[in-house]
Structure formats: C-alpha cells, structure tokens
C-alpha cells in the first residue's frame, strides 16, 4: 500500500478502500481549497492589508498620542477618558449626529417607500421616472453640496426666489440659520434617495400578485392592501434600509464639511461626529484621539444595530425563518 499512509495498511478490505477514498477526497478538497485561496488571494490580501490591518492599527493608535509624522507614544486610555469627560465638542458633535439621524432616517425611508410605491404603478414612461429618481445618486457628493449651497443661498438662491415669486414668502436663512441648518441638510439628502427607492422597488416586485388578488376578492381598498399586504411583506426591506441608513447617517461628512468649510457653523449646528474626528486628526494632528473617536463610533453603531436586531419582531419573514425571504 501507499507508504505515506501507514495507518491505512492496518485496515482490511472494504474499510481500506473507504479510507483510501476518504484520503483522496480530502486531498481533492485541500487542493480545491488551495486553488480557491489562490484565486481569491488578491481580495484576501486587500482585505488583510487595507481593511483588517488598518482596523487593528486604529485600535492600537487609539491608545497612543500619535501625530502621524512622528512615532506614537503610549498613553493607555487617556484619549477615551479625555473625549468622554473633558471635550465639549465631542458631546456636541455626537448630539448633532444623533438628532440628525432621528430626523433623517425615518424621513428618508418614508420618502423612498412613497416614491417606490408611485414608481411601481403601471404608468407610461415608468422607466424614465425611475431613471430620473436614480440619476441624482450618481452626482459626486462635493458637486452636490456646492450646488445646494447655491440653491439655498438666502439672498439669490433659487429656493427663496421661488418662495417669493410663487407664494410671496420671505424664505429663511437655510444653512446660515442654526434653526434651519439641519432641516436644510435633510432636504438635500432626500435628493439622493434613489438607492433606497431601487431597493424598495425590488421588494415591491417580490410581493406575489396572488395576495393582492385575494385581497381584491375580500373587497380590500388601496389603503387596506397597502397596510395589510404591502407593508408587512416589505418589512424585511424596511429593516434592511433602517440598518443601512443608521450606519450611513452616523458617518455623515462630505456635504456638511464642504458647505461649512469644516467649521460646522452656524453655532456648531452642522458639526457632526466624523467632521470633528477629521478635525482632531488632520488639523490638531491628534490621530490617536481621532482613532479613539472612530472606535467609539463603531461601538455606538454596533449598539444601535444590535438594538434594532433585538427588537425586530415586527419584521415579517415569509419563509418563516429569520434571515430568509423565501417566496411564498
């Protein structure tokens, strides 16, 4: 027998054949695994080098005083203690972010859902409307921010111009007025709701037509069908949107950074968490402190996501098993 497998030699007949087959199969499996790993190695190397290592490094840097261009110095938990006990801007930026998330997440989900419902109707030019809704998401964020900055200019912006021309209303200061700055940013963000609409549309088209037909037979109207058929069957999509939106909103940066030049003014009303993190890292050169802020943000997002998962009893899974959306 094969000298490489002395244990096999001790076996007899059928047992020996089964063992040999098993070894061959395991060799094939190993070879497949090796080739599999070789084929995905560009991705694996990227993941380890550009994702896993930076994540680990940021955790290590968060325990140091690190100014990027000079070697880090170990300070233990000092960065965390400082941001939690002795940094007014940390709490201000966090509260701004939470308030904006509370405003933005439900509104963007509701608007995306509403638009998806409309775009799901059998109307002429449906594809054109869908394209129009999606196109703004392709505009680069910086260009978008500058465009809206002009549109919302209190003196010569188009928005206030239209308010005056059509309704005789003196428009507010929008981004220059601390009471209006967050709602203005919310209005801007709704312009790029196209991704959500596409996901809701996919969810709507996944709902079996037979359920609507059954509801029709039962005499249900549009509102009843929406409430008792569409919304329950879309809850997995709403759940997905909720989680993704919260993760995205907590990381809001580009638009307010560009529009306020990083200051977060007026009255710090647009100073969001990641903007302050950026300021710590690249203006104050406190990369250790900024890394600590990044880890706290990760924990906050993780906690929010876990709470959402724990309270997801309202999500209806047609297949009966959580995590699947088997068609019925």
């Amino acid at each position: 027998m094969l000298p490489l497998f002395p244990i096999v030699n001790c076996l007899h007949g059928g047992e020996q054949m089964a063992a040999i087959r098993s070894i061959r199969e395991s060799k094939i499996v190993r070879r497949k695994l090796m080739w599999g790993l070789i084929f995905i190695s560009p991705w694996l190397i990227g993941l380890i080098g550009f994702t896993a290592y930076p994540i680990g490094a940021s955790l290590a840097y968060s325990l140091t005083d690190y100014a990027i261009m000079s070697p880090p110095k170990w300070v233990g938990l000092e960065n965390y203690v400082e941001m939690l006990t002795d940094d007014d801007l940390f709490s201000k930026s966090l509260s701004n972010t939470v308030i904006f998330a509370l405003l933005s997440v439900p509104t963007s989900i509701a608007v995306a859902f509403g638009l998806a419902l409309m775009l799901n109707q059998r109307v002429m030019g449906k594809a054109v409307f869908r394209t129009i809704i999606f196109v703004p998401t392709l505009v680069p964020s910086v260009a978008l921010a500058i465009m809206w900055l002009w549109l919302f200019n209190p003196q010569f912006g188009v928005v206030n111009g239209m308010l005056w021309e059509l309704f005789g209303i003196n428009g507010p200061g929008w981004l220059t007025d601390e009471d209006w700055s967050k709602p203005t940013l919310l209005l801007m963000s709704l312009w790029t709701v196209g991704y959500g609409v596409v996901i809701f549309l996919a969810g709507l088209q996944d709902i079996p037509q037979s359920l609507y037909e059954a509801a029709d037979i039962d005499g249900a109207g549009v509102a009843q069908k929406t409430r008792h058929v569409t919304i329950p069957l879309l809850t997995p999509v709403i759940f997905f949107q909720l989680v993704i939106s919260i993760i995205a909103i907590f990381q809001i940066f580009t638009a307010p950074h560009v529009m306020t030049g990083g200051s977060g003014q007026p009255a710090k009303s647009l100073l969001f968490y990641v903007m302050y993190l950026y300021r710590q890292a690249f203006v104050y050169m406190k990369m250790g402190h900024a890394s600590g802020m990044a880890w706290l943000l990760f924990l906050i997002i993780l906690a929010c996501t876990l709470v959402i998962f724990r309270t997801s009893g309202w999500v209806h899974y047609s297949g009966g098993e959580r995590g699947t959306t088997t068609k019925t």
């Binding site: 490094a57 290590a60 990027i68 261009m69 003196q155 200061g173 007026p266 890292a281 203006v283």
Partner: protein, 445 residues
C-alpha cells in the same frame, strides 16, 4: 455541505482576527527611520507643491520663477505642482502628512506660517538654520514679524516669502455723498460707528447698504482687530497664551452690540450672503462703503474698478488702550523631512528667496517683501494704498507662534460664532478656551 457557523464560533473567529490585527498593529515604529539618500542622478527632479492654482495670477508668477530657476540650474528640474491638500495650514493637509509619513514628500512646499511650530515639533520640517547662515540669510534682513514666524525655538524651519496686511478701506466718493470728510477717515470706534450710520441705507426692513460690518471680510478674525485694540495673545517670555485678554473680551462685546444695533445676526448674514466677488465686490458696488480687508484687494480694484475713489487707513481702535496696528501673515516655504536631495531642495529655496525674485513676485501680486530694504523701494510706494500698507508692517502683530496656532484658530472661530448666536458668555468662553490651549501647550514647552 457547508456548515453554518455558530454565533460563538463567529465571535471567536472575529475576536481572534481583530486581536491578531491589533497585535500586528502594535508592532508600530517607535522611531522614524530616515532612508539613506539615493545616488544623485545627472539631472535631479524636484517637486514644489504650491497652494496657488497654476492658471491664476499668483500661480503664473510662481511658474515663471520656476522656469527661471530651471534655466539657471541645468542640473536641476523643479516642477510646480498644485495641490492645496499638500499644503499645511489649509484645512486639508492630510496628503502632505501622509507623504511625509511615507517618506515621499515634495521637495519644497508652501506653508501657512502659523502652522510651522506644530509641524516642527512633530519632526516634519527640516531645520534650515545652518543652511540659512551659509546663504547669508540672517534675521537682521527681515521684519520682526517675519523672523517670529520663520523661527521656532531659535531654529529656522521656514522662509516667509510673501507678507500680507489688513487695513480699513473706505470709499472717498461715498464719504463725500454722506457729508463726511474723505481726507479724515474714522480712527476710533466711536467715529466709525457714526460714519457707518451715516452711510447705511434701508428700504422698509431691507438694507440697501450697511456702512460697515466689523466682522465681514478680514474683520472676521480676532487677530485682525486684536493688535489695534491693544490685545496681547501670548506672553513672549513664558509662551503662555492669553486669548482671553481683556481687550479681546471688550472687542467681541463691541461687535455683539453692533450686531444688535443692525438687527441681529440673521439679518446681517442674510445681507452678507448676497455679496459677490471680483467686479461684483460689495465694496466696489458701494453696498459696504467701509471694510477691513487685505492688500490683495488692491489688484482686484485695479483690475475691475480702476477709477475707484478709495483710501486706506488704520483699523479703528478704542480711545482707551488702542493703538495703530495690524495683523500680518502670508506664505512661507519649507522643506519637509524625507526629501531625497536636501542640498538641492535648499538650492531651490535659496534661489527663489533671492531679493530680486522676492521683490518681483510680491510686486506682481500686490503683497509685500519680507526684506526690510524693499520697504523703501519706489515700486512698493507707487500706489498710495500699497504705500500705506508698507508703513503698517513695522507695527504688525502676528498670530502667536506656538504649536497651538491651528487649535487656537479653530477655537476662536467657534467661540466667535457661538457669541454671535448668543450661545456663550464672551468672558467664560474665552477663559475656557485659554485654559484648554495652555494645557495642550504644556507638552511642547
């Protein structure tokens, strides 16, 4: 058959991976390794990362200087690259930081003077002291304000090649229209208050013009007004910062009262948001007949309103404790640590810093030369406003040169904005900021 991971296994694998990554990351460098200089090629390529767009007026001047340098130095090839993100002192200097950390910095960079101490403390800039002496570039050649910004702890880390200044501009024609004396501009704050009122026009609730807005344009920064009001921002002996100086408090209280007199911050912001630029500049348009602004406006007036009837004067100050002064800043050159050919980089810097080149460049862009001798040069005296600016330079204060400059800048900007929105008490906000800045400063002293 694929087997689904249990939650426990998933957490184990996740925690293990993260731990391994963190451990790998813990093998962080404890010293900065400076690689040996490479063998010098026949023609050395050098990069000058500048803050000005190559297509603009200032960028064109710089490119012209670079062309002259390359002609005079055939063994070197200097290239001007534009990247605001690679210039310290802007709000986006992350690329320069990354370049230096990676050991591939540009060979020469434009540098915001106030950022020099922080970057020097972080070992990011080359100490030029010996080379400056060898090139006969000594402190006695330059204004005090220049030396104070070039040196940190007695060592040269930068060369400030272009100075700016701030004054009160006023429209003489509109002074006459309002019955004011155009040859006697307001010197004290009570006088500018009266002049502003005389030149403010309102239709219903809407302002047609506001005579003066103290915090508009360059008046926005506390340093612009501070030196005129007699404020001191730092104790030069102990390097302790004093951004909560009584005169800063008095200045901001005066501005708050001004805000209230003209209808509140939202009304005034709404007015200033309509400001245009260049030919539509509010000063040229006459909607703000007095403003605090910089010398660079002179070339704007020359280009877009050559017949503009205007004058320049000292920034107004209170009768008690005030003085004739201004704030000067500008742009410096620095050599980042890690440049491959340090001697050649300094050859480029010292060529650009030659008197003739500096004078030519600054005249071209209506800025001022750091060389004291150029102050008497007739070219800088041709325009009355420019001539007045030159006269202000010996009385110019600078942003306190400490590693806290950027943090102080952001903190003061935040505090002023909070004050204008009635979020803070002036004194309390400035006291708190001052404590924080001095605590942070201790690590560098």
């Amino acid at each position: 058959m694929s087997k689904q991971l249990s939650r426990r296994d998933f957490l184990r694998i996740g925690a293990g991976s993260m731990g391994a990554a963190a451990l790998a990351a813990c093998a962080m460098p404890t010293t900065v390794e400076v690689p040996a200089a490479p063998v010098r090629p026949e023609i050395v390529q050098l990069e000058y990362a500048g803050v000005h767009a190559p297509s603009g007026l200032v960028g064109e001047l710089k490119r012209e200087l670079v062309v002259q340098f390359n002609e005079a130095n055939p063994d070197l090839r200097l290239e001007y690259t534009w990247g605001a993100a690679r210039t310290a002192g802007t709000l986006a200097s992350e690329a320069l930081m990354a370049d230096i950390a990676a050991g591939i910095p540009p060979d020469l960079v434009d540098f915001e003077p106030a950022s020099v101490p922080l970057w020097a403390e972080n070992e990011a800039l080359v100490d030029l002291s010996d080379r400056m002496s060898a090139a006969n570039l000594t402190t006695d050649l330059f204004y005090k304000a220049v030396n104070d910004q070039n040196l940190w702890k007695g060592k040269w880390y930068a060369f400030l090649y272009s100075m700016d200044g701030r004054v009160l501009y006023y429209r003489k024609d509109l002074f006459r229209e309002a019955g004011l004396d155009p040859d006697n501009p307001p010197t004290h704050i009570d006088e500018i208050g009266a002049a502003a009122e005389a030149m403010t026009k309102k239709t219903g609730e809407r302002y047609e013009s506001i005579g003066f807005i103290p915090w508009a344009f360059q008046g926005r920064w506390v340093y612009t007004w501070g030196f005129s009001w007699g404020a001191e921002f730092m104790n030069p002996e102990t390097l302790e910062l004093t951004v909560n100086h009584d005169q800063v408090v008095a200045l901001w209280e005066w501005m708050r009262d001004w805000r209230d007199q003209y209808g509140g911050i939202n009304v005034i912001t709404s007015f200033t948001e309509a400001f245009g630029a260049q030919a539509q500049d509010p000063f040229i348009m006459g909607v703000v007949p007095m403003m605090i602004n910089g010398n660079w406006m002179i070339s704007n007036f020359r280009k877009y309103a050559p017949d503009l009837d205007y004058g320049a004067s000292w920034i107004p100050y209170p009768r008690e404790g005030g003085q004739e002064a201004t704030w000067t800043s500008g742009w410096s050159w620095a050599i980042p640590v890690g440049t491959d050919y340090l001697d050649d980089s300094f050859r480029a810097l010292s060529y650009l810093a030659e008197r003739g080149n500096i004078q030519w460049y600054n005249l071209g862009r209506s800025n001022f030369s750091p060389y004291i001798e150029h102050g008497e040069s007739p070219e800088f005296r041709e325009n009355p406003a420019m001539s007045f600016f030159v006269d202000t330079l010996p009385f110019a204060g600078i942003m306190p040169p400490t590693p806290m400059s950027d943090m102080a800048w952001a903190g003061l900007s935040d505090a002023f904005d909070d004050l204008m929105h009635d979020k803070v008490d002036v004194k309390e906000a400035l006291d708190a900021l001052n404590v924080r800045l001095n605590e942070e400063l201790q690590q560098y002293l």
